[in-house]
Symmetry: C2
C-alpha cells in the first residue's frame, strides 16, 4: 500500500471537486491510501466510504488569490498544505498532491519538506504534449527565476530519473532551450550550461532546442531557468488558446463552416482539444525535494485531480526518490 497526502482545500473548485477526485482515485487504485487535509465535516459528508482514508482536520488553507504565500504559510503552519508537507517530511505520507497556488507549494516545500541533500534548487516541471503524441518534461517553469549551470545539470538528472520512473523513456534525451541550435548560442549562462550538460555523464544530452521545436523535438526533457521556462510554458498555453480562438472566429463568420463543424468535425476538434488538455496528464511536478509532489492545475475538476493523484502514485510506486539518491554519485564530470 502507498499512502499519499492530499490537500483537499487547494484549487478553484476545492473541496468538492478535489474530494470527488479522491473518490475516483480510491476506486481505481487499490494500492492507494490517503491522508486528507481539510475540513472533517465536509470530508465525512462527501465520502461515505472511509476505508483507506485518514483525516487530518483543519479549516485553514492558502487562498488561491493569496498575494504573499510565504507569509501566509509561515503564519499558518496548520493550513492544509503545510500539514501535508510536514507529514511528508516525517514520512507519514509518501507524496503530496495539491491544486493550491504554485508559489505556496514551492515555498511550502522549502519550509516544511526541505530540499533533497545535494540539490541546491527545486524546479516546477509540467509535462507538455507533442505533435507525435509523446510527453515532454519542461523545467524549470517557475520555481527559480535564475539558475546556475550546475543547478540545471542536477535538475536535468533528477528529471531523467523521473522520465524513467514514469516510463516516458529508458534513456531520456535532455535538450537545452536556447535561441539557436549551435553551441555558443544564448546568454553566458546558456553557453556554460551547454558544455556542462554535454560533459555530465548522468545525462543523455541532445543539444540546444529552439522555441519553435518544442512541440516537435525528440527530447524527453527540456531545461532552462524558471523565468524562461515560465514564459515559454505560458506562451504555449496562450498561443494554443489564441489561435484556437482565431480559428473559432473564422468558423463562426461562415455559415457553411458552421455546418461543417456541427455535422462533420466536432469529434476531430474534441480529440484535438483533448490531446492538448493538461487535465489528462495530471499536474506539474515539484522536483528536488524529498518526496514526489504534484501541483494539480488550479482549475482541476475531479478527473484532473484524480490524474494528479495517479501521477504522484506512479512516482511513489516507482521509487523515484530512492533512485535519485542512489544514482546521484555517478560522476558528472568527464575525466
Amino acid at each position: 500500500m502507498y499512502k499519499l497526502g492530499i490537500d483537499i482545500m487547494g484549487g478553484d473548485y476545492a473541496p468538492y471537486e478535489t474530494l470527488k477526485g479522491v473518490k475516483l482515485a480510491l476506486d481505481e487504485y487499490k494500492d492507494l491510501e490517503v491522508v486528507l487535509y481539510g475540513d472533517e465535516n465536509i470530508i465525512k459528508e462527501q465520502l461515505k466510504d472511509l476505508s483507506r482514508v485518514e483525516i487530518c482536520h483543519t479549516t485553514k488553507f492558502i487562498d488561491m488569490g493569496e498575494k504573499d504565500p510565504v507569509t501566509a504559510l509561515r503564519k499558518n503552519r496548520d493550513a492544509s498544505l503545510a500539514l501535508a508537507l510536514t507529514d511528508a517530511k516525517n514520512n507519514k505520507v509518501m507524496g503530496v498532491v495539491s491544486a493550491g497556488p504554485t508559489q505556496a507549494l514551492v515555498v511550502g516545500a522549502h519550509l516544511f519538506l526541505k530540499r533533497m541533500d545535494n540539490m541546491r534548487r527545486t524546479a516546477i516541471c509540467p509535462i507538455i504534449p507533442s505533435v507525435s503524441g509523446k510527453k515532454t518534461l519542461l523545467l524549470d517553469s517557475g520555481a527559480n527565476v535564475e539558475l546556475k549551470p550546475e543547478d540545471l545539470c542536477d535538475l536535468a538528472f533528477f528529471a531523467s530519473v523521473v522520465c524513467k520512473c514514469l516510463k516516458i523513456s529508458d534513456n531520456p534525451k535532455v535538450g537545452l532551450l536556447n535561441i539557436g541550435t549551435e553551441p555558443g548560442k544564448g546568454r553566458m549562462v546558456d553557453k556554460e550550461t551547454y558544455y556542462m550538460l554535454k560533459d555530465d555523464k548522468r545525462i543523455n544530452f541532445y543539444g540546444n532546442v529552439e522555441g519553435k521545436e518544442i512541440l516537435t523535438s525528440d527530447c524527453d526533457i527540456l531545461v532552462t531557468d524558471g523565468f524562461t521556462g515560465n514564459m515559454v510554458m505560458k506562451t504555449m498555453e496562450g498561443t494554443a488558446l489564441g489561435t484556437g480562438e482565431i480559428l473559432k472566429n473564422e468558423i463562426k463568420k461562415s455559415f457553411l463552416a458552421k455546418i461543417g463543424y456541427a455535422l462533420f468535425m466536432r469529434k476531430a476538434f474534441k480529440n484535438y482539444k483533448d490531446s492538448l488538455n493538461p487535465k489528462k496528464i495530471g499536474g506539474a511536478m515539484l522536483l528536488g525535494v524529498n518526496a514526489p509532489i504534484i501541483k494539480a492545475h488550479g482549475s482541476s475538476d475531479a478527473f484532473a485531480f484524480k490524474n494528479g493523484i495517479k501521477q504522484c502514485l506512479d512516482l511513489v510506486r516507482s521509487g523515484l526518490i530512492k533512485d535519485v539518491k542512489e544514482n546521484w554519485d555517478a560522476s558528472n564530470i568527464t575525466e
Copy 2:
C-alpha cells in the same frame, strides 16, 4: 519620391522572388524609387522596365547558411547587404529591405549604418497578430541577448514612435513581458525595468504582460530582452504550427472530418492561416539605427517581399527617424 535600398540577393528564394517583389512594389507605389544591390545581368533580365530603378552591381552576398556573419561582412564590404547599408548611412537611400540572415543584418547595421545618437542598443522587432485582429510589436526578439532597463526604455520609446508612424495607435500601450502581472515579478532586470518604464514620460506604460496574454493583450508594444523575446517569438511560431499539425492529424484520422473540411471548412481554415501569416505583414524591423530597416522573412516569396518594401516605405513616408530624434529629449525621468 522615396528611394529605398533593396538587397535582392538575400533570402531563400533570391534573387528571382525578391525581384518579382520589387516589380510588384514599383507597380503599386508610384512614389517609390529603388536602388537594387545585386547581379546586374539578372536584374536586367528580370526587370524590363528600369524607370525608378538604379542598379548597384555586385555578385557578392551573405549566404543564408553563413555561420559567422560578422566575419563574412567584414571581409565582404562589397556584399549586397553591406553596400545597401553603406548607402543608407550616406543618405543615398532612405531605408533598406533585405531577406538575408537576421544576424548579418544586425551586425551590418552596426558596422555600416551605425546606431542612432543616444541609442545604446538596437532591437529586432517583428509585428505579431492578435485574436482581435490588431497588430502588436514584439521587441527585442533577438538583437541583444541581454538588455539593461534603460535600454529597454529607449527601445520602448522608439517602438512607440513606430506605432504612431505605422498608424497602429495614437497613444501606444507598452507592456513588459513577465512571469506575473504584479509589480515585483521576474528577475532583477525585470523589476527595475518595470519601475523605469512606469516613470518614463515618453511611454504609455500598461504594466506586466504574461506569455499567455500575448495574443489577447491590449498592448501595442511588448518589450523584453532579446533572449526572452526570441524564445517567445519562436515558441509562438512553433505552437501555432504544432497545434495546427495536431488538428490536421485528427482531421485525417476521420473520414467524416475529411469530408467536412473539403466541403465546408477549407475557406475558414485558409482565412485562419492568413491571419497568422507573417508574409502579409511584411517583416521584422531593426530599431535603433539611423534609417528604417526591414528584415523580410528568409522564406519570402514575391508577395511577402513586396509587403516588406511597403512597410519600409510607410516608415520612410511617415518621417520615423526625424520623429524619434525630435521626441528624444522629452524628459524620461519623473521629477
